[in-house]
Chain length 430, copies 4
């Protein structure tokens, strides 16, 4: 029997009726202290759907390269909310009205913006929950929470979906300069120790303003924006798309694909009930979003289900599954070749042959041991809205046009790269 999160919550509310010990100040190594300004923020944080984010790491397998990068989505969401509160103060101080209710709503919207993330999202979306994006699930969960909270999230959801009349509030949640990015760049840089990716979130917020219902940056902030864009690119290539991390993440994709394949064949696999469900079933987006039971099961899923299973699979009798799993668990990762040009059409086939020979695998098995993909530094980007600079004379200009000394356009160009991964012991030269 599966207890739904919402039911669970009722039980626990009953169990822990009194809540006098509510904390309102949180320690954060990045910002020092974080204060919660609205009591509903704490209520939402206390909800099992949100507590679950504690068990979902922000950067997936990046910690295999940057051992400090262990922070989770729970902390990121709260950090982004903290920056939102500063942004609200700043914009208000510049004479633009943000009502108390709007302040609460936009804080809720940013707090929940990532609520739909599953464990190792990018890997999961390539394997066992393909076809459903975390953005879709975020909206779905917000609606569920809104029911539980009797409509208290109405405005937050409007803002999140960009249906609210003050559109700059949505831009604070989701745009090229939203509080999500400001926090994650700063936080990821902090925890990874890649100090060069550090973004001066505080300074950028001081430079924010609103013009014609658009979020803009004041002229004197242009250097900070340049710096922000450079730092973001640096973080992409040095952390998010680090080649060793790519290798690990695509090994994870292949492990999950193999597990799903075996599961579909009826092979017995150690797995938590939630993971078991997603390995067994092929869920369409429609089914996901219409069947509450699916969502409940998804909300049970986190890093512990995935990593916990892979550890056990390292001893599974299926050699594909066990070799891949034990390799990932012990950080024996595939070699990766990353390059600007596409690979020759024949390369993949040659590697497959070598794998078959070396490991005595058939074609179907061998394909799990070679990965050929391409990536670009917009891979993780979600929004296309450009950053506007506001000049002293009141005019607005796209940042790419505004700088007289840096070709910001070039900075924002998409760079595409190709890569190929395969076991290190193969006798392959690329």
């Amino acid at each position: 029997m599966l207890i739904s999160c919402s039911k669970l919550r009722l039980t626990l509310n009953d169990l822990n009726g009194n809540t006098q010990n509510k904390y309102k100040i949180l320690n954060d190594p990045v910002y020092g202290f974080i204060t919660l300004r609205h009591s509903i923020l704490l209520d939402v944080i206390d909800h099992p759907y949100f507590q679950r984010l504690r068990r979902i790491s922000q950067l997936g397998l990046s910690h295999l390269v940057y051992p400090g990068a262990l922070h989770n989505r729970f902390h990121h969401a709260i950090g982004a909310m903290h920056l939102m509160q500063h942004a609200i103060d700043e914009i208000r101080q510049k004479g633009h009205e943000i009502t108390h209710e709007e302040s609460r709503a936009v804080s809720l919207a940013i707090l929940l913006h990532d609520i739909g993330h599953g464990p190792f999202s990018h890997a999961l979306e390539h394997s066992i929950v393909s076809g459903v994006s975390h953005e879709d699930i975020s909206v779905f969960i917000m609606n569920r929470l809104n029911e539980e909270f009797d409509g208290a999230l109405d405005m937050a959801i409007e803002i999140f979906n960009d249906h609210y009349e003050k559109r700059f509030l949505h831009q604070l949640v989701s745009s090229q300069l939203d509080m999500d990015r400001l926090d994650y760049l700063r936080r990821d840089s902090f925890y990874s120790g890649v100090t060069e990716g550090q973004v001066s979130s505080e300074r950028i917020i001081k430079m924010l303003n609103v013009s014609d219902d658009q979020l803009v940056v004041e002229e004197k902030g242009i250097y900070s924006i340049e710096k922000f864009i450079v730092a973001r690119r640096l973080m992409y290539w040095q952390v998010y798309l680090h080649k060793t991390v790519l290798s690990a993440e695509f090994m994870l994709v292949n492990i999950l694909k193999r597990a799903k394949e075996l599961s579909s064949r009826g092979v017995d696999l150690f797995a938590s009930p939630a993971l078991s469900f997603f390995l067994r079933e092929d869920i369409s987006k429609e089914e996901f979003l219409s069947n509450p039971d699916v969502l409940e099961r998804f909300c049970q899923l986190d890093d512990y289900d995935i990593t916990g299973a892979i550890k056990v699979w390292a001893s599974h009798e299926d050699r594909v599954l066990s070799i891949l799993s034990s390799s990932l668990v012990s950080r024996k990762l595939f070699r990766i070749k990353l390059q600007s040009e596409a690979f020759k059409a024949s390369t993949r086939g040659e590697i497959i042959e070598e794998i078959k020979r070396k490991y005595d695998f058939n074609d179907e098995e061998a394909k799990y041991f070679v990965i050929q993909e391409q990536i670009d530094n917009k891979a993780y980007s979600t929004a296309a809205q450009n950053i506007k600079i506001k000049y002293k004379d009141g005019s607005l200009k796209d940042v790419a046009m505004a700088s007289d000394h840096l070709n910001l356009q070039s900075l924002s160009e998409v760079v595409e790269k190709h890569f190929m991964c395969f076991p290190k012991d193969l006798d392959i030269k690329l």
Copy 2:
């Protein structure tokens, strides 16, 4: 079938024969960069026994109070090794010989000093592996590694066990001022965001010296030592023994005890093979240390087994197990009353009665819902060696006697506290 770690490693070595991509520099948010000076350090780090420390958090459940405190024992061990390298440089520069081989050995000793830790060590040692300390296991694992590495750890083990002739090397690994402490205080303070616990590890190392084969601190370092002792006490009471953390950790102890109890009765429980083994078996210290299979299974155990199981147990039909588990998973923790005086003898009984009434439990069940313990701020301390101050005239004095302005003795006194935990919805006033 359970594949042993060491066998696994051979397979992987075979698989990944070439190791040209060995990294030698690590990013660390705390110290910036960490360089590995001896190739064997990297070999040990790459070993599955050591990689396993990636999955064991340093501070257990403290992240429920300090959301940033997610760092693991892997990073701490490497950090302590980094400080060791600085300490070696400093002591050498002051004219004391540390040979290349000793440098390697003492670096290995500190790297492995915590290798025997299981997940949530303090909780585990109170429940499913009672009777075997992590120190015992550390020595055991080091010996196993030493076999694998053909005796390359001989001197490291001698130093660790304080059997090596230069005794100050052991003191660098384990004493009141060892590199273990310097790193964990600094790192725990950093990740928790409790900046007041920050220790100037760099400065303390600059003040280290050796006198009569003893590790000593130079006279001018006395303020740094005062500061170190105050910071350490602060970290104990504010982080390690934070009352909410205590409540969570002892709830975890009771969950594991209940699971073991159910397991012994033959009740079916979701668990990884490794956890299953320890729930089922009662392992004596002798058996643990003599049966290699037990150690192999222990090395399979980490945070993912424990947390992964508790998440599933939240829906178990045993009400004791499911209520405790779901409460911990959703951070609905017991109320805790912490005080200097002992509780009245009758208090515990009164609470038990209230629990039985409220939850319709029998005596045996109810006892899992009340926790009565006492703690002191030496709880985590392992060594009794005092810090010696070396004066300019060459004389040594115990730091507690050395300061002319602070009663350091009082700082080092053990403070004992008593606490009682129980569900928040009970109608109990303490």
Copy 3:
């Protein structure tokens, strides 16, 4: 002709009538950004009396030991005002009223709390302006500014003098836990690089509250207070009363005393008009505070007058003056012997004899080359009000009594030390 500061200001106002470029945000390496909330704060900062603080270093000659410690009183005063604004927010949020006008007044009071400092205050008060404390001068200057600002500083002055009804406002300006101390400890630690002196000003402010019109610290802040007191002591002995700094400061005292002596004898000395005046005249406290011209001249005096003159005096024909001056300029400082016990009565005489012999000086000259003083770590302390801890049950306790684990009383005891300084080339063993 001496132009008075206030006249000068009128001229300049005339010259720079428009003030559209008023800055309101300041960069601060310590806190990031500082925002000025009241326009009068900027008016006061722009006043020549306040701009003058840019030319008065916070730590006098400490930079001879800590090369980074070059920050000035201008920055400290603004930093303390910044903390005040945070403290106001915190106290308001806890339900205590601080009106807009009170907020402005208490911000002004802290901004101006050190306005009466001259260059190298402690040295100056021992030599050329003896008998008049910087606190007296601060009040005097505030009154002058109040006239210029048409009474806008009335309430600020009341608060500063502790005549305002809400007495906790005065305690924020001047008490054991005032914003002055929080800023200077943090700032001095930051710039000197003595990180161990770092005080968590942000956290302490979060713990502030008001009870019975007294500033109190909440119970959970007790560890922060312990840490604050330890850090403060550490800063005293390691920075403020560092023995090399003491040696330099008392050499400066002797240089100024010698210059005054020579001046009184009619010897010609290079000096700015302002310094010239104070070397020539013996100003009583009464005269200082009653004669506006004296104050004007005092306000012309800063580090540049003193150091600029000493550089020239290094080539003066008076050997006492030139040797002392050139030694200080080139950082060839007296040897200093610092100890807990008093020196033998005969020691000073023996040193004097040695100086006379070595340098061919007479008694009167030789006395400038030996310094015998005593100091204590309350030397710079001004207030005697103790810190009160507020318990959850509402009771208040002195912090020295409140801690159950640290003898805070011992920490607050005055420690007295004795020292003797003399040229390094003397053949003296102490």
Copy 4:
């Protein structure tokens, strides 16, 4: 009579014969601790020529905008030497020989690279010591020191002048990626609080290598180099060429020009002997470099002479001098208009007319109240050597060509700007 620095030093050596208290570790807020590895480094630091750098601020008048930016050239030189020691370690570890003597020499070279700076160098070179660059003076002083130190600086001078055979050593002292820049960017960013200018000096040094006797950066360091170049540009426009700083610095130029003009007319001016000399005399480069007395006088000159005089000049009877001086002292700065395009040819004349009318000045006087200049972001750059990237295959490429995603060429283009300054009370619209 003017005592020469070198004579002064002999006297002092005599006075302070014993030097047992030599410090070898310095506190630095930027790097923590700095250790001096060679005793001659301390000897040079103790020399009056070097101690003099304590009285020369690194950023001139930037502190009028960034109040924390008070650091001096003394600390910068030592910081650059600290980085040099790290760079030596890194390059040695990569297998390139740097002998003990070379290590000492290159450390001396970087320590002394700025020894020729006078107070407010850029202003001074535009006014009273025009025609002699600080680089010329540096070489001159190094030669003088070399005589005093009996040739111990021979190799340091060869390296500085790029006459030493291992040319990469010179590049560490002076090139696009020299230790000078790494330190000043980091230090200026730190003290100004402009955190976005922060350069990861530690990481860049880890990426350094030597190839064909050239200093190169390893391929993986390319993002750090991008970041470095962006940070450098940001610092130029936001700090070094900040428009308010430009206004202040050119006011200072005009003050000194006016003083020189008055001096040449025989008007009496308060000034230290050293300043007096340079106001009175017109020194050609040849005379400067050939006449030891001129150098001695130059070495007497520092910020205290300049600022100390300007304070007194604020009351001078010459209205041009007194208005300019009092304005600068009280931070009543000229308005500045900074723009990409050149100003119309007539603009300056119109402003002059308005100044004459408003202040009742003649043409000759009025010209001190308008400043028309142009600047570019290479203004402070000294070297043209490009940064080379070394690829894994051993090939080298100019960084501007190396990046496949950022037009680094565009980043390195010179940007030129024009500005005009004049009193704020003029009725001028630009």
